[in-house]
Every structure is written in structure tokens, then in C-alpha cells.
Symmetry: C2
DNA sequence: GCCCAGAGAATTGTGCACAATGTTGCGCGC
DNA sequence: GCGCGCAACATTGTGCACAATTCTCTGGGC
């Protein structure tokens, strides 16, 4: 089974939807990377994706390039594009950036939160809780990240919301790459407390809690112990 | 004189350097937009840039797409790419994002600043002061933005530094698009005070001053009065 | 004078063949 | 067995011709 066919197979894990523009290709690659259907180090060849998606090389290149700016894939000159595999240093910077940026979104949201926004966040937490209870950990984790993205969007600043979306995606990569010592036990409670503070417009407390929450996720990871990943990845790092 | 030739001329305002990859094209377009050599609303046709830079359509498309991701150019489907012209709402979001993110970089920098970093920032302020004194306002403004980028880089977080770089560039667009009531009188003093606080590791004071500084730049703009540009500009350049 | 239709122009997206470049692997000499 | 060189391979970048789409402008009908 050559690589091209295999890649198509990965794309086909769900039924293959119609993709006719760069946005669609981007979305599918983004989801596949975040959900770990495409593992770090996987090679993403233009021609393979052209066949997989049924769109031209130009669109594929556009999608890949966007993912590379978002640091989800790495381009190696004249070699190709690979799914990114962040190292410990990058991981630390991502968490530091999240603390700074989400402090901003939390501040804005806690200041201006209305009942409808609070309800949407509560709904997110409720769904996550249920999914976790039923054992659907992947979907639960997905929603857990979505909580941060959602709050950022509700804060009303598109610039910050976009950054949070990307940083959450990178966090997803990182969490899956490094060993996680505590599991994700603490997430749920923090999110609920956070909503409570925002509902009462207790800005200081909400911001403090958010910073602490993200720091806790970071500290639950063993950043000096990376998962044994695919062999190609070694080369990715060797040439980087 | 057709449009293609004229665009080459804009590119040629300085001597035309060798451009042989997407990075070069991106850098030149980025500088041209930030320095207002390419005005908001200017149409950027692929083929025109291919001739201007002497590289292939693929590279040009890559550079344009990256600029679009950075919100410095806007793609209109099946129409082409145009230099962005942020509206008041976007401007407000950019300033809000800068306050949040640069609070983070300032905090990190004020905590960890060493003598060498302080010296580099002082040097920046000194140069800017001199340029302004000699009447080179454009270069002075350039350096003034560079102060923020430099501090972000020195803070040690590449993620945040990259964001600051982009937000500073967008601010440059905004400052030139909206009427500026106070001039840029306050910048210099704030920067110097900021360095002083960072040197003494007075984190709280430094962060507060940075937030206040950015808010002051924002408040000096008449965000409800935009320069007469954009739409007309497209026409003027297209038909000339 | 005004409105609508249709031709024309401009520009991006695609497909194919080929060039450029870096990688891989094999065989050869030692 | 080991290092070296060379050739085949894989992959991206380019050029050209053409398709598709959308705006623009002109002209006829009223």
C-alpha cells in the first residue's frame, strides 16, 4: 500500500464530503490534525492531497500554507509539508501566550457577559460533562477546547478569538504529544467556576482563575517527556 | 502607461532588489504596505506582481495569501487582492488586542529584563528621537512601532512577538487611514518611562503604563472619521 | 432619459509537461 | 566491511494554454 492510497484512506475515515475550495480542504486538514487522525510527523504531499480532495494543486498549496502559518504543519524546503510536532520550548510559549491572551478575552467577557452568552457556555460545559460521563473522551476534550474558543468569540474581539482558536488547536497537538500525568480531571470544575465569576462580573477573580486554569493544564504535562512518535518525525526535527 | 508598468514603478521606488522566493516578495509587499507606498484599496494583481518581482504565480499567490492571513490585504473572490482598509470596528479590535497581548509581553519583559535588552530598547528610543528631531517623521514612526516589536521579541515568547509584529503593522495602516488629532507627541516619553520601569523590574507599573500608552494612541485617533479612500482609490488606480 | 441584456474584458483556477533541486539507494573500488 | 560517487527518484516550482466566473460597458427598446 503506497503512501498516496493510505492518505486517501485517512481522509476517508468519515464519508468523503464534497470539497471544492481551499477553505474546505483547510477545514478538513485542520480537523484531522487536531483530532489526531493525522499524527505529527505525517508527510502531506501535494499530489496526494490533490487526489484525496479532488481539487487543484493551487488550492492544496493554499490550505497547506495556511496551516503552516498556524504552526500546525511544517514546511521543509524541497522536501514537503509535515504535520507539526511541537517541542517542549514551543509548548511553553504556547501556554504563556494563552495565559496572556485569554486573560484579555476573559477580562472582556467577564465585564460584558449577558445571560445568553452565559447560557451558551453553560451548555458547552453540560455537554462536555455528559460526553465524558459516557466515555467519549475525544469528543469531550474537543468540547473542552471549544469552551475557550467560545468564550473568546463571545468576548467580541475577532482578533483575539482567532488567536485563541489557533492556540487551542496547538494545545491539542501538544497534549497528545506529551505525557499527561493528571489526566484532564480539573477542567470541568474550573470551567464551571469561571462561568460563575463571569456571570457575577467578578472580573479580577475570573481572570485569575483563567490564568490558573491554563497553568494547571500546562503543569499536568511532562514537557520533558515526549511520546514515542513516528519515525519520520525524527527526520523532521533533524533537518529543522 | 498601463497599470502593470505603473505597479512595477511603485515597487521600484527604491532600487529593485533580487527577489527569488516567496519570502522576498512577502517582505517587500509587507514593507510597501506598512510604509504607505501601497495605499489601502490598491489592487494587487497576480500577473502584475509576477512581472514586478520576476517570480512565478505560485510564489506571488503564496505571498498574497500570507498577507491576507495577516489582514494586510483582502481577497475578494474572483476579483483579486486589495490592500486592506480597516474600518473603525476593526481598528478598535486591533487596539484591544494590542492592550491584551502587549500587557503580556510587557509583564514578561519587565520581569526578566537584563542590561543588554534594556540597552537595545534605549538605543531604539534614542534613534527615534534623533530622526524625529531631524524631521524624518516616517522613519521615526517606523522605529516607534519597532519599539513594541522589539520589546515583544526580547520578552522571549515567539508566539506573542509574532502577533505584536502583525498588530503593529495593522496599527500603522490604521493610523494612516484615520485622522490623527494629537500627532504622535506622547510616544517618546512613554517609551522612555516604560524602559525605566522595566529596568527596575516594576512589573505592575510597566504593564499599566503600556496599556495606558496604547489606549492613548487609540484615543488620539478620530475613529469615526476615515480618510476618503478605498473605493475611489480602486477606481483611480484601475482606470489611470 | 432610463433600464435591461448581452458581448467583451479582466482575473483567477486548472491541467499538463517540464525544469530544478534535493534525497535515496545501489554498486564499485578499496 | 566501508566510504564514495553516480544515477534514478520524488517533490516542488514554472510556463503556457485554456476554462470558468464575474465585472463592465455599450447599445437597443421604450
Amino acid at each position: 500500500m503506497n503512501q498516496k492510497t493510505r492518505l486517501v484512506g485517512v481522509m476517508n475515515q468519515r464519508n468523503r464530503p464534497k470539497i471544492d475550495d481551499a477553505e474546505g480542504a483547510y477545514q478538513h486538514l485542520f480537523d484531522a490534525i487536531v483530532d489526531q487522525r493525522l499524527l505529527p510527523g505525517t508527510k502531506l504531499t501535494e499530489l496526494a492531497l490533490v487526489e484525496a480532495f479532488g481539487i487543484g494543486r493551487r488550492m492544496v498549496a493554499a490550505a497547506l500554507q495556511r496551516l503552516s502559518w498556524e504552526k500546525l504543519v511544517v514546511f521543509i524546503p524541497n522536501r514537503g509539508a509535515y504535520v507539526a510536532a511541537p517541542d517542549a520550548d514551543e509548548a511553553r510559549q504556547v501556554f504563556a501566550a494563552r495565559i496572556a491572551i485569554e486573560a484579555g478575552t476573559t477580562e472582556a467577557f467577564a465585564r460584558a457577559a449577558d445571560a445568553a452568552s452565559i447560557a451558551r457556555l453553560r451548555d458547552n460545559v453540560r455537554q462536555e460533562h455528559q460526553l465524558r460521563h459516557e466515555g467519549h473522551m475525544r469528543e469531550a476534550i474537543h468540547l473542552s477546547g471549544g469552551f475557550h474558543t467560545l468564550m473568546a468569540e463571545l468576548s467580541g474581539n475577532a482578533v483575539l478569538a482567532d488567536q485563541v482558536r489557533l492556540l487551542v488547536a496547538r494545545t491539542s497537538l501538544i497534549v497528545n504529544l506529551f505525557e499527561n500525568q493528571l489526566g484532564l480531571a480539573g477542567w470541568h470544575d474550573h470551567h464551571e467556576d469561571l462561568i460563575a465569576h463571569c456571570e457575577k462580573h467578578e472580573v479580577e477573580e475570573a481572570v485569575f482563575l483563567m490564568r490558573d486554569h491554563i497553568a494547571e493544564i500546562r503543569d499536568a504535562l511532562a514537557l520533558d517527556r515526549r511520546r514515542p512518535v513516528s519515525f519520520d518525525m525524527v527526520r523532521v526535527f533533524a533537518t529543522r
